[in-house]
Symmetry: C2
Subunit: 475 residues, 2 copies
């Protein structure tokens, strides 16, 4: 029989991996709650029509669809086969026509009416609309749950992964952006990360730049090229912009962006001059100024706030602030979080004028960063503190009584289940990295005490129960 495996892009997590992931999740949840966010959970699968069409054509393709239960092929609804199914069968996937694809999608919609959650934002919007009468607005919710995407797996990209999101819906106040920057900082500071950069931009600033260069449709090309300034230099960036069809005259108008340095205040002043002619751009600069000034006034821990006008993530849905967090420079891992403001979060489900703003933490990336920088505390993977060696049933009963009392005091304790050779039992302790062993023979039972062995040093002592507790907790 071949060794069993798991689907590509999915993972098993070993005990130490679970412990480390939980350490990160606990830190994130702890700060979500300190900041007043409340947890919700939504089902792993939603009705297909809740998800389909919300993530673009590519997204629709990447959503995992669940086959209807029962005899899905001929249920009461009278499912019809695509007329050209036989032709489809003869074709290769590459040769499919648009008409055939549409037929196939229609057929899929009939045999599959549920789909696995693709992110936490759309289910959150659905939740808010569905439960709007029970919710107190502004609603500060957090959600830490897995999502699924039929992406091609690659390093750091999985088909099942956790998202850790905090969003506020129902207020346009910029104080929320201020607090979300602080929230990022609080979590990363607690995790011991030094120098995570919280990059901020504003959709309206990007809109202003588009106005200035006179080409709304070229905005992505523009920001992508500008983002390469460090790598290919001013001339290289300009050449790329020209190649993408942005006019030389337009590029000249935003010349300050090629030497966009200094403090955030200095950058904002340059930006204000540059976008003075754009109402939208000026509004964006004002918003950024409010956020950055107030973050500065309250101060940050170990993180750095930076203004990055090339930051253009979520351009299709963000309407105000845009956030992205970079890992400290010494680890080349890219983004460890992101978020932004979307003015009409719940409109897709019929509840208008609900502004939302939120951030997300990238659990897998943060894990890799902490691993690489050796920032997981040793205590995270600490398991059982003491193993009682099994010398037989009489001794085991004596041991188990003590073990129960230790557990009542919060000490993780185990009895080796079998009366195996003592070497094997010590080997178990060694492999499990259990620091102490207790030996209980006739002498110990008669004297109502315990032989406690420190497995690292090899030293051993005869101790009473109270001394046992002391030694096991005192370390």
């Amino acid at each position: 029989m071949a060794k069993p495996g798991i689907p590509k892009g999915t993972r098993d997590f070993s005990p130490s991996e679970v412990a480390k992931r939980q350490y990160i999740i606990s830190a994130i949840k702890h700060h979500f709650e300190l900041f007043g966010f409340q947890p919700i959970e939504t089902p792993s699968f939603e009705n297909s029509d809740t998800l389909m069409g919300k993530y673009g054509e590519e997204g629709d393709r990447l959503i995992f669809k669940i086959l209807n239960s029962g005899n899905y092929f001929y249920d009461k609804k009278g499912i019809e086969l695509p007329q050209s199914l036989e032709e489809l069968k003869a074709n290769s996937a590459e040769n499919i026509t648009t008409e055939q694809l549409i037929e196939l999608n229609k057929f899929t919609a009939k045999i599959s009416e549920k789909a696995l959650r693709y992110d936490l934002t759309v289910p959150f919007a659905r939740y808010v609309v569905q439960h709007q009468n029970d919710i107190t607005f502004p609603f500060k919710r957090y959600q830490v749950q897995p999502v699924w995407r039929a992406d091609n797996p690659q390093k750091g990209r999985f088909r099942e992964f956790y998202q850790c999101d905090a969003d506020v819906v129902g207020s346009t106040s910029l104080w929320q952006e201020v607090e979300l920057v602080q929230l990022y900082d609080a979590v990363f500071t607690q995790l011991g990360l030094d120098g995570a950069t919280i990059k901020i931009n504003n959709r309206k600033v990007l809109g202003g730049i588009a106005e200035v260069i006179g080409a709304k449709d070229k905005l992505i090309d523009f920001t992508v090229a500008l983002d390469k300034l460090d790598k290919i230099g001013e001339d290289g960036v300009k050449a790329e912009m020209l190649a993408k069809g942005i006019e030389a005259q337009a590029i000249e108008k935003v010349q300050p962006l090629f030497n966009f340095t200094g403090s955030i205040d200095e950058k904002l002043n340059q930006l204000a001059d540059l976008l003075a002619g754009s109402e939208e751009g000026t509004k964006g600069v004002e918003e950024l100024r409010f956020i950055c000034n107030n973050v500065a006034a309250t101060g940050l821990g170990n993180s750095i706030l930076d203004l990055d006008v090339t930051l253009a993530r979520g351009l299709n849905y963000y309407t105000g602030a845009i956030f992205e967090v970079s890992a400290p420079k010494e680890v080349k891992l890219g983004s460890i979080g992101g978020g932004g403001r979307y003015d009409d979060l719940t409109g897709i489900f019929g509840l208008k004028n609900m502004s939302g703003v939120g951030i997300s933490f990238g659990l897998d990336r943060i894990y890799l960063v902490l691993e690489e920088l050796n920032l997981f505390p040793e205590t995270v993977t600490e398991g059982t503190k003491v193993l009682f060696i099994n010398f037989g049933d009489k001794e085991a009963q004596y041991a188990l009584k003590a073990i129960s009392r230790l557990r009542n005091q919060g000490i993780k304790a185990e009895l080796y289940p079998d009366n195996a050779k003592i070497g094997k039992q010590f080997q178990y302790a060694d492999k499990r990295i259990i620091p102490f062993a207790v030996l209980t023979g006739d002498t110990e039972i008669d004297n109502n005490n315990f032989t406690l062995k420190n497995l690292a040093s090899g030293t051993q002592d005869i101790v009473t129960f109270d001394q046992l507790v002391e030694q096991l907790t005192g370390l």
Copy 2:
């Protein structure tokens, strides 16, 4: 636009529901770890061939199948349509022939190669076999994750629900059964449950009874009838047994089971006499005696251990001990946990001779029990401790500085994001059950202090920052 909904049998969890569920899960995990169990996690979906055929025909039908991604209908493998597909279409589900069903299942297997986890035991067995070289045996693992079943939803039965399992694999020692009884007791005692009954039986005892009544195939009928003793009396039970084809002579042989009372010891003695002629039965009684004696020697908290020979759950796979936990009598909710010993856990994946024993906690049922008995501590759903009223940007900045410092001290604090009417802000605090509000106007800013209002009593004080911390934490 119609209000959006969620698939039947699934649930949204509100903040207070998440908090209460987490409270239970934390208690369970805490004790799992005190007992030396280590956490693992497995993917939400497995390869179909890992799951199919492991839960019987009914189970196979209830497994949620995931449609292959991409153009599943005509991928490189050249999927063939069932020949009789057109006939199938014309048929109603009820009229499907066995041949057609087989064809349909074959077709399903081609368009769907992954399926959602149905329980945690099969994935655990798969994990053990796949990672056997990295595992230290005996392997004590716990796993708290959702599972999915396409069951017809009904009260207390959902299509997505959590299982909380602890299992040991790789040892046949009965000390593990002893510890699992203690583990049940430790969790329920911690949750404040008084009088949960941990019922124990043994597959070998049931085997012995079958031998005595001379009808292995009637064992289920026998235990089901015997279980009704309280309700329909001895005569009723006997009548049912006769109706099921169990001979009068056979029933007479097990007469002691109709008056099966007294202490566990007394019951075991009756059972030993009854099963004296059966080697298997005698072995079962010995195992039960070992477990019950050693549980008695170490003692239990608030739970009761009871021997129940009608307990026949998992008869198809359990080979030794069988456990089931009943909620305290005053709540009529049935089983809140179950488990047992299966001698060949990993054999289905090719690793022979691995005995496993484990227990499961029923999160949803435990939730209902705690709710009904009013056992959730009030602190469980406590959220934000203090709301700072927003009087404008200058005041908000002053407030946010204090809020940051409070959060650094572990106090959950919020700033109302908008400079809304004060009544609306207090209403928000009221609905969120926030016990304190802080007001900061010009006077407070000038004097570097805060007006702290107790929202329950309505009293308010002017306090320094240190006094603020004291009052918010001292309560």
